[in-house]
């Protein structure tokens, strides 16, 4: 896999897991994930689409996701973690399975508590800034 596709795969798998760990997948969570990938992680359309293709995603487990997350450079890992937390903040709630997923991802990224807290605060800031994707880019 190319570096860009690796990052897109890690991001969408981590983000989907966070969204699925909650009670109900909200429009806000759905909307925030794609914009984050394109605008903040700087992923191109091709990588985002390829990462989400059924054939590509179907064979991957959360262990694969954590293994890919562990290989991310520190700055990118922090961005991914902030994005994952942003999904919870967009929905304004966090369920126990979501706390567990964030924690396992943080462990995989070898994150300290302090680093995690910074990601968490940044996530809260970002969640207030991303509008609905249909409004941003048209239906």
């Amino acid at each position: 896999m190319s570096g860009e596709l690796d990052l897109a795969t890690t991001w969408f798998l981590a983000a989907r897991t966070m969204a699925c760990g909650g009670e109900k997948i909200s429009i806000a969570e759905e909307a925030a994930a794609g914009l984050f990938a394109r605008a903040i992680l700087g992923l191109d359309e091709e990588s985002c689409i390829a990462a989400k293709s059924k054939e590509h995603m179907q064979s991957l487990t959360l262990i694969d996701c954590m293994s890919m997350a562990a290989k991310l450079p520190r700055g990118t890992a922090d961005q991914v973690m902030a994005g994952v937390m942003m999904i919870a903040y967009s929905a304004a709630s966090m369920q126990p399975l979501q706390v567990r997923w964030a924690s396992m991802l943080a462990s995989a990224m070898d994150m300290t508590e302090d680093r995690f807290q910074r990601c968490c605060v940044n996530a809260r800031v970002i969640s207030s800034m991303l509008p609905h994707e249909q409004e941003a880019v048209g239906g």
Binding site: R16, L62, M94, V99, Q134, V137, G139
Partner: protein, 274 residues
Amino acid sequence: MADTTGNFDFLVKYDDRVAHLARQAEAYVHSDPDSALFKLRLMVETMARTLVDMEAPHLVDSDLTVMLRSLQRSGLLGRREADEMHAIRRDGNAAVHGYDSTTPTAMRRLVDAWRISRWYARMVKRGAKVDPPPFKPPPAPAQGAGQRAARAKAEVLEEAVEARRDRTRAALLLFGQDDDIKAMRWRLRGELRALEFVAVAAGEPIVDADFVALVMAMDLEQILEHPSWGRSSQEAKASVEQQFEAFKGAHADAEQEYLLERASLAREARSTEH
């Protein structure tokens, strides 16, 4: 006004104002696509207002974007209908703001409006059996070779733009249009539960749920002025704003280019009429 094909006749018994706007749009689709788009935009706004009045009456005087967002959040408006309504909003706004439109654009939005109308009829009269005959495109008046050529070019442009928008949308969705989200959710939650057992046995989690909840409850101003996180969160905010604006700007530039090209094709089509 030219005779219509009766595509929206079924709508009269559910909402005659909306049906009237749809029929007007249908009648103008060949002769005046700008007016057709304007009528469709008004039609969508009327639909949204009626639905918002049922769900969240305090938002009934809001603009269309706010009403659509509210309907989506309430779960009343699905992704497909929202996409179609936003497409009509966007092209209607362009027409109102003086960008010339073409018949292929208006025709696409008319088909969108017909699909939304079936859904809308079911929404305003729950349990209603709404089964109109298939959509029939309003017949085009006789055209000269120049007009046909201009229209063919507009069709090609419209196809290309729709394909580009579809890709943009596909890239932005968290799940694919055809994904079985329920099955995917079930699988991922199952994996999470299994990992939960391992994690509990392995030791302490890094995440402090109380801290997460505290940050969730804080106002943005509190965070940005916080002695420990204030500076880094201000930097993060500035950086995200910049990145997001750059992304929106690139998209807006592409849309603007499309509107100008479309306007030029509309002028070309008009000039061949004389």
